[in-house]
Each structure stands twice: as structure tokens, then as C-alpha cells.
């Protein structure tokens, strides 16, 4: 049983992150926390796993929280860890070991459990979660989906009564999301309590007992699982929530190669070293004014294709043409731009304006201001890029590409972890770019985005 009573909370210097939250979660219940970005759902998960107040400096907390009979604020985190397990959003930063086996045992080893017991528990985990493919692997050879699965499994070995999942699907493809759904089902069957904060909702249909909708730090509405998943479309959009059902309907597939205006990829083969090629004789066109989605499971070569189109890796065979003209690797580096999934990697200057000038040293102030205005960034011209929000950083990266006159823009998973409003924002920017005559490709798992922003699909 988890009880949160009249809790108000603010991070240091702020107030009202949570306002008067009261929530009781029964043993074995599966509860979804949903709402727009910044509504406070992650903060609620931190109340339960003890990161608040133990791991948050200078915050203001009023009210009482208890989990499994333990008062959270008076219990040491390592005691709490035995009963409340947490899986976080970013699969990259949840590991301490370099191999999967060590990681699975980590939690129990910390508790000082008997090695023989740990071994049996590891066997059970691998069997129950069907993880044979993850045994004995190097962490750095694993995909984001596999890492998230491992993070989940390493909490599962500790066998806590409560699982707290904070946006676990933010970086996962559709298969991995489905798999996570199955694992939550298993947890329910075994009587665990599950609290999940999420933007992606469709995979939770039939799994959750209750949905709690937060707005501006307050519990605005509460639903049973069935009520929630039968919310009418308009109401759902009004609440700023992502789709409740997996997007269906299909878009026409990519045009064959040979377009005269736009990108034409002809018989492209790419691979690393002496290994088998990642993909072979790939041909397609992406015309100006249209947006092409590039889909496919993890590992089919989406990243390699992106890097090759941007001239970051050499092709083994085939040709890439822009407006009918052959572009070699170096020329492509100048003509193409990729908006990376982690946009922090591609902002280098100390101000937004500086970022524009770095993109094009000859650019006049007026031109830079025009472009910044177009992307709603003019107000922030003197701010440090790292002080911007995620969406603003993404738009700034796009602005630099526009300023340096790039024709081909590739977005790599632009909507991972975004709520409905932010997804629509990204979608409208992508549309705008296509309308202005740029060639736009989106590499994504996000079916909902594909349906609102793309015209054609290339399945790898």
C-alpha cells in the first residue's frame, strides 16, 4: 500500500511543482500517471521511490508519504530500495557495470544477499523475462531497447513489492514497447504494485487499473482503466495526451529512385569493415515538399543510412543524387544535416545568436533574426543554448541547419519522450521545412508522428 497525503512540493527555489496531492494505491494495483510534460508525474514517482526528499537538495515538502508501511522521509534509501524498485527514462545512464550479468546481480549484491540465492534469483529472472539473448553481453553493444529491458530485469531480480517506472518507453521501438507491456502484465500476475508515468499510452490498454491525470501539479481527474481507454478522441487531445490506440492506417511507400527534384538514392550498400553489409542495394526517392518517414526495427540500418546520407560514412556501392546531380561524401556533408536524438551533442556556442553565426559566419544579424523568429527563438537570442528547453534546443539545431543552407534535413527520433503538444510542435516545424522546399526525412518509431507529419514511408 502506498499512501500520499496532502503533499505539496517544490524543487529548490520553485513552488507548486505538486499541489496538495492525495493518492492511495492498493497492493497489486497498476496505476498510470499521465499528463503534459512538466505536470508533475515524474515528481510523484520520486515521492514514492524516495528520491524526494533524500536525493533532492533544498526542496520544500509538506505532507506525508508512505510506501509499504515505511514513512519515506524517515527511511534510508537502501532500505526503501528493497521494497520499491525504479526504472528510469534514459537507458544509457542506469548501469554501473560493463556487462549484463554483473548488472543483473548488482542490486542483490549491494544488499549482501547470499551468492547461492542470487544465482537462483538470476536464473528465475532470465527465465521469467525471457532474457537468454541478454546474457553475458557487453553493455555498449546493446541497443537502447535491450538496455531498458536489462534495467527492468535488474530491478526485477531484487524482487521489490512496488515497481516505479518513469517514462520507461521514451527511447524504445514498438517491439520493445510491446515487450515492456508484457512484462508489466507479468508483474501484475505476480501481485506487484506498479506505478508508471508515461506519455505513450496505447500499450497500457488492458493493463492499468487506474489512470491519474495531472495538470499543473494537481490531480485533475482520475479514471478506471476502462474509462480511460474509452475517452473520446477530442477529450483526449484536449487533455494533451498521446493516442490511446496504436496508430493504424498506412501511408503510401517511398517513390522509386530517379527523381529530378529532391533526393534520389540508387542501389546504396553500406557496411562496416569486412562485415556483411548492413543493407544492400537500397533505392528510393524523397521529393522536395514531401516528408519521408524511415522506419524499421532496431538494427536494420536506420542510423547507418542517416550517417551515409549525411556523408559521415562511406557507401560501398551506389549513388546519392540531389536534384539529379551526383553528390559524393564530402559534398553531402555540406548539403545535409541530421538533427540528432540527443541534441545536446550538436550545440556548441555560448549564446543562441552565437550559434547562428557559427553556422554561417557571413550571416547578417537581420537574416539570423529572421530565422530565429521563424522558429520562435528570437526572445532567447542572448541565452546560453544549454539553458533552453529540449524542444527549443531542437529548433535551434534546425535553425543552424537552415542558416547554413542545408537542403537535406534528417530528424533522428525527434519525438522520443514528448507529449502530444510538443509532438504537434515538432510536426508543424517539419511541415514548414518541407513547404519551404527542403527535403525532409524522419527516422522514427513513433507511428503517431508518422501519421501527422509524413507523406510517405520507407520501411527498411
Amino acid at each position: 500500500m502506498i499512501s500520499i497525503e496532502n503533499v505539496s512540493f517544490g524543487y529548490s527555489g520553485e513552488k507548486g511543482t505538486l499541489r496538495d496531492i492525495t493518492l492511495r494505491i492498493k497492493d497489486g494495483e497498476c496505476v498510470l500517471l499521465c499528463g503534459e510534460s512538466g505536470c508533475g508525474k515524474t515528481t510523484v514517482t520520486k515521492l514514492i521511490n524516495g528520491l524526494i526528499p533524500h536525493f533532492t537538495d533544498g526542496c520544500s515538502l509538506a505532507g506525508k508519504v508512505s510506501a509499504e508501511g515505511l514513512p519515506v522521509d524517515e527511511t534510508e534509501l537502501y532500505e526503501l530500495a528493497k521494497r520499491v524498485g525504479s526504472v528510469f527514462q534514459n537507458p544509457k545512464s542506469q548501469f554501473f557495470n560493463l556487462d549484463s550479468d554483473s548488472e543483473l546481480a548488482f542490486g542483490l549484491e549491494n544488499q549482501g544477499a547470499d551468492p547461492a540465492f542470487i544465482r537462483t534469483r538470476l536464473k528465475e529472472t532470465i527465465q521469467n523475462l525471457q532474457l537468454t539473448s541478454l546474457q553475458g553481453r557487453n553493455i555498449f553493444s546493446m541497443s537502447g531497447g535491450e538496455k531498458q529491458l536489462l534495467a527492468f530485469a535488474s530491478v526485477y531480480t531484487m524482487n521489490p513489492a512496488v515497481f516505479v517506472l518513469d517514462e520507461p518507453t521514451a527511447n524504445l521501438d514498438e517491439d520493445a514497447v510491446t515487450r515492456l507491456g508484457e512484462q508489466i502484465r507479468l508483474l501484475k500476475r505476480q501481485g506487484h504494485t506498479v506505478i508508471i508515468a508515461e506519455h505513450r499510452l496505447w500499450f497500457l490498454s488492458g493493463l492499468i487499473d487506474r489512470a491519474v491525470f495531472l495538470k499543473d501539479g494537481k490531480i485533475a481527474r482520475s479514471f478506471t482503466g476502462a474509462q480511460f481507454f474509452s475517452l473520446p478522441e477530442r477529450e483526449r487531445i484536449g487533455m494533451g495526451l498521446r493516442a490511446l490506440t496504436p496508430s493504424s492506417g498506412s501511408l503510401p511507400s517511398a517513390l522509386p529512385c530517379g527523381t529530378a527534384e529532391g533526393l534520389s538514392v540508387e542501389g546504396l550498400t553500406c557496411g562496416f569493415g569486412r562485415e556483411e553489409p548492413v543493407f544492400r542495394s537500397l533505392s528510393f526517392s524523397a521529393v522536395t515538399g514531401e516528408v519521408l518517414a524511415v522506419c524499421g526495427k532496431n538494427g536494420v540500418g536506420k542510423t547507418t543510412l542517416t550517417r551515409c546520407l549525411c556523408g559521415l560514412t562511406r557507401e560501398r556501392a551506389g549513388a546519392v543524387r540531389l536534384s539529379g546531380k551526383l553528390f559524393n561524401r564530402k559534398q553531402r556533408t555540406r548539403a545535409a544535416f541530421c538533427v540528432m536524438q540527443d541534441v545536446n551533442h550538436q550545440l556548441f556556442s555560448d549564446s543562441v545568436m552565437g550559434e547562428c553565426l557559427l553556422a554561417d559566419p557571413d550571416c547578417t544579424n537581420a537574416r539570423a533574426e529572421d530565422v530565429l523568429n521563424l522558429f520562435g527563438l528570437l526572445l532567447f537570442r542572448d541565452k546560453h543554448p544549454m539553458a533552453l528547453s529540449g524542444g527549443q534546443k531542437q529548433r535551434l539545431a534546425v535553425a543552424t541547419a537552415v542558416l547554413s543552407g542545408k537542403e537535406l534535413l534528417i530528424f533522428d527520433e525527434p519525438t522520443s519522450g514528448l507529449d502530444y503538444a510538443h509532438m504537434m510542435e515538432v510536426s508543424s516545424i517539419i511541415r514548414k521545412l518541407a513547404k519551404e522546399g527542403r527535403i525532409v526525412l524522419i527516422v522514427t518509431h513513433d507511428r503517431e508522428l508518422i501519421h501527422c507529419a509524413c507523406d510517405r514511408v520507407l520501411e527498411l
Binding site: 528520491l51 530500495a81 554501473f96 556487462d99 542490486g107 557487453n138 531484487m158 556523408g311 540527443d342
Partner: protein
Amino acid sequence: MNKPSCLHIDPRTGLLLLVMSNILAFIQPSFPLELGWIIFLCLLTALCGCGKAAVKWLLVFGLILCLQFYILPASPKLIATGCSIFANYTRRMLSCAIVGMLMVKRTPLRELIVGLRTWHFPQKLIVAVSVTLRYFPAIREETGYIRDAMKLRNIHGLQKVEALVVPLMISATSTAEELSAAAVTRGIENPAPKTSVVELRLNAADWTCIVTGVLFTAASYLTS
């Protein structure tokens, strides 16, 4: 992580061999002893499944010897003095490099940690070592992304250094924050004595290595 057919040495044996290699580097044993030690280490490397690396190390050793005995005496004085110091030091440190590489390639991090723990190294030092080793591959991955981004942004020359360091530091801060949140929720602060699934035992091969190492060290000490 290990090929089943290969020899596997205990991390503690590795550490001892490393210490002994260091001592030998300072003692400067006679040539036959030095040659014997290098050959022994290369043999061990080969048995542990790094045959190619062993051959490479032997070639490097041969090359340095050639340089010292045949090429440098015949070259102009300026080059000879400069290079002989370099060659001499490389030759002395070679055995340490061989053991070091073997450990990096063949010892899983957690075995090293368990090894250090059984020797009662302070937990603080162990955590520092493991976090450092854990972070190197992460930096390599990040650097790759940032390099790509720089190529697409047309960043050249000195700008590159700044452009690399700033994003790396920013990502390091957020990684550190997230990593420690994940660590505390998995009970890393638990004061209970830590256990491990891996049980380390020194087997015949380990003892052979240690005894051989001690013999070489003793012989070098007595003959020097």
C-alpha cells in the same frame, strides 16, 4: 566474455604480475632474464586467447632490440641519443604494457572489483576505480556523436577542442546525476557487507604464474 577453451587468470594474479613487472623494470635484469620474462608473458597472453597480440608484442620487442643494437649505433649522434632513451624506456616498460593489456582485455570489471575487495582495499577506492573504468567507453561513445555533429556544422581547428569539451561536460553532469539516482535506488549505500556471484579462486595456472614471477624477480635481484 571469455572463450571457454582459454586459460583464465584471476585478477589478483594479474595485479601481482603487474607489480612484479614494475619491480623488474626498475631492477633491470640481465638480458637472458629479461628475454625469459617477456617470452613468459607473451606465452601467457597467447594461452589466454590473445595469440595475435602476443605475436605483436614479440615483434615490438624484437624491433626495439634491433633499433638499440644495430640501427642506433650507426645513426647520427643527435638521433642516436634522442632515440636510445626512448628505446630504452619502452623496452623497460614493455612487460608492464603486456600485463596491462592482458588485464584490460581479459578481466571483467566486476572480477577486478571482487579481487580488490578480497584484498580489503577501501570501498571508496574501489568505487572510484570502477566508476572511472565504467566511464571510459561512455566517453568514447559520446565523442563519436559529437564528432559527427561537428562535421555537419563545419567546425574546424581550435574551435573543435572547445566544441568537444563543452558538450562532453554537460552530458557528464547529467549522466552523473542520473547514474547516482539509479545507484541509490538500487541500494548502493547499503552498509551490509557486499557479496558477489563471482567467486574467485586461485587455481594451478594462477599459482604457476605467481611462482614464476617471484622466481624471475628474485633471480634478477640476486644477479643485479
